[in-house]
């Protein structure tokens, strides 16, 4: 597990081609313009982060691309399929982890994964999927008996049943302790290394810095910045930005991890 944190995963190079193309996407709820003209492209094989404070429009943007929410105006094309015209076609090509993922209580993990496989018209190797997310020993348990981190890992396994071209994760680490969060980062890198494109939302900035190849920062329904994390930081520094207090070489989270270790606590 710990090796995932220290090993820097190889990045996919070569001719980049857009797998998600979003153009001038808009969504209004009553008087609130939740998403206000968002455009971006996501390259195949990258981990793309959407950052922003609560209410910035991250989830709404994600759900319009996924075909989970209707689009007021603008277009979103995923793997060549226009979401507005064929939402089911898009859903068949992607994997979705919802912010508050919930599953049928009375079915165990194996049964759930097999069921979800059928919903995509596929016969899945549920055991193999559980091995991938390190939940083999919970195969016959119900979701409600899992810890927070295990639930999120299961939810990712369920989003992988159709071997998706793009995996959408909506705040996958919210509410997890630092150990479980780091563990999930490792899982996301593994998924990326297998060639899946990953789109995630988060409000943990160090998570974005750690995981994402590129990030879009949203505020008030608009994208206010979009680049590689380091490029964004360099641009800020180039504008003459200085911190009031010089950053130490370690922070409190490093102390926490040092004291409590990387081992997952799942009870």
């Amino acid at each position: 597990m710990t090796s995932w944190l220290t090993t820097d995963a190889p990045h996919h190079q070569g001719a980049p081609k857009p797998i998600v193309q979003v153009h001038d996407l808009r969504k209004r709820y009553g008087t609130l313009q939740a998403v206000d003209g968002v455009s971006f492209e996501i390259t195949e094989g990258e981990v793309f982060g959407i950052l922003g404070p609560n209410g910035a429009g991250k989830t709404t943007t994600l759900e319009m691309i996924e075909g989970m929410r209707t689009i007021d105006s603008g277009t979103a094309i995923v793997d060549g399929v226009d979401v507005a015209k064929d939402p089911r076609g898009v859903k068949a090509r992607i994997g979705i982890q919802l912010q508050a993922s919930s599953f049928f209580d009375e079915l165990n993990l194996l049964e759930l994964l097999e069921l979800f496989g059928h919903l995509y018209g596929r016969r899945v190797d549920a055991k193999e999927l559980l091995v991938d997310v390190e939940l083999s020993e919970k195969a016959r348990s119900q979701v409600r008996t899992l810890s927070g981190g295990q639930k999120q890992r299961f939810s990712i396994a369920a989003a992988l049943v159709n071997d998706p071209r793009v995996l959408f994760l909506d705040e996958p680490t919210t509410g997890l302790d630092p150990q479980a969060r780091r563990h999930l980062w490792g899982l996301v890198r593994q998924i990326r290394d297998r060639g899946h494109t990953v789109v995630l939302t988060t409000h943990y900035l160090e998570e974005a810095e750690e995981l994402c190849d590129r990030v879009a920062i949203m505020d008030g329904g608009k994208i206010v910045a979009l680049d590689q994390p380091l490029a964004l930081i360099d641009a800020l520094l180039a504008r003459g930005f200085t911190k009031e207090r010089v950053e130490r070489l370690a922070n409190l989270e490093d102390v926490f991890i040092d004291l409590t270790g990387h081992t997952l606590r799942e009870d």
Partner: protein, 358 residues
């Protein structure tokens, strides 16, 4: 239509129901418990009807009738005067009082000749009903034996001794189908809605209609299984099942559709269990007591009976009871079936209007 998708959702719906202890408890165990309780209380042996007999005719014929009644084990016979016996009835010591008026002759009643009168105790409607049926049967039998020609209306009664179980089982069948439709759907479905499990399902390319179809068909199968189980237990308690099983299943299916549609209407409208529960109870409670599940509706005030005649469970119970007790065919319950079909259509339209996936 992709059958694999439907089938996997059907199996999942079925498993979810069978593994949900609360659902099983309320839809299978509670009706069985009610039957067991009434079974132990009421029909360890045959039902006894306390019958007061007032013989004001005092003829050979009336004596013969009283003697014949005395041979019926179901009757606990109490001869007495008119006023004394009616007083006993008011005190609750008689279920039924038979008055043989002066000048009565044991023959087919003609216009103007005094006929037999029986007073039933309104607080013991089942005994009064069973006693009334028996009286008619015996008198009919005696008249037929006397060469006066058979009374068609009572021809099928001789030999049958209807007890409370015969009244109760069809009522419990109706009640169970109503509870299954209303509660298992409204609670289970609203829970899926509230937790987001339903939403997760729609993150897949499968149409929600598959899930709805799987839920409905799995509930229908569970409902029909319950009909078999309850009839089996009823037979063990001495139920006289004279009607067609196929017809019973058909009626049960139609009844289930009404209550499933109402259940989905509630589930579709409600945001959480707190909204669904009162509404489901509001629909089910009046019918539990006013649609003839436990008590005969004959005991109800006329205006209440008129209103409740049109309740879906009243139609369902009446149809089930007619088939179980009297073995009637489709023709005799056409009115009930029509009433149920209209309710099914209304409930379906309301469900479609109210239904929201999120």
């Amino acid at each position: 239509m992709r059958w694999v998708v439907y089938w996997s959702l059907f199996v999942a719906s079925f498993k979810m129901f069978v593994r949900n202890r609360a659902a099983l408890f309320f839809s299978l165990f509670v009706p069985l418990l009610i039957m067991l309780i009434f079974g132990v209380l009421n029909f360890g042996g045959s039902t006894t009807v306390t019958l007061g007999v007032v013989d004001e005719a005092n003829t050979t014929g009336s004596h013969a009738l009283v003697t014949a009644l005395g041979h019926v084990t179901t009757f606990d016979l109490h001869p007495g005067t008119h006023d004394a016996e009616l007083a006993q009835l008011k005190e609750g010591h008689r279920d039924l009082v038979l008055v043989i008026p002066a000048g009565y002759e044991l023959k087919v009643p003609t216009a103007g000749s005094p006929g037999l009168v029986a007073y039933g105790n309104q607080s013991k409607p089942e005994q009064a009903r069973v006693g009334g049926l028996l009286l008619n049967a015996i008198v009919g039998q005696m008249l037929a034996g006397g060469g006066a020609g058979p009374l068609v209306a009572v021809q099928d009664l001789p030999g049958r001794s209807l007890g409370y179980i015969d009244f109760l089982v069809p009522g419990i069948l109706g009640l169970t189908l109503m509870q299954l439709g209303l509660f298992s759907v409204s609670f289970g479905f609203v829970q899926l809605k509230r937790t987001g499990a339903l939403r997760r399902l729609f993150a897949t390319p499968t149409s929600p209609a598959y899930f709805l179809a799987a839920q409905v068909t799995s509930r229908l199968i569970i409902g029909l299984t319950q009909v078999f189980v309850l009839l089996g237990v009823g037979l063990w308690f001495g139920l006289h099942l004279v009607g067609s099983i196929v017809l019973l299943l058909g009626i049960s299916l139609l009844g289930s559709i009404i209550f499933l549609a109402i259940g989905f209407g509630i589930a579709g409208w409600a945001k959480n269990e707190d909204q669904a529960a009162p509404l489901a109870n509001l629909v089910s409670l009046p019918m539990t007591f006013l649609s003839g599940v436990f008590f005969s509706r004959d005991a109800m005030p006329a205006f209440l009976r008129t209103i409740t005649d049109y309740l879906p469970l009243t139609y369902l119970n009446h149809a089930l009871r007619s088939v179980v007790n009297d073995g009637v065919g489709v023709g005799a319950i056409a009115g009930d079936l029509l009433g149920m079909a209209i309710w099914a259509a209304i409930a379906f339209l309301i469900a479609v209007r109210l239904f929201k996936w999120e």
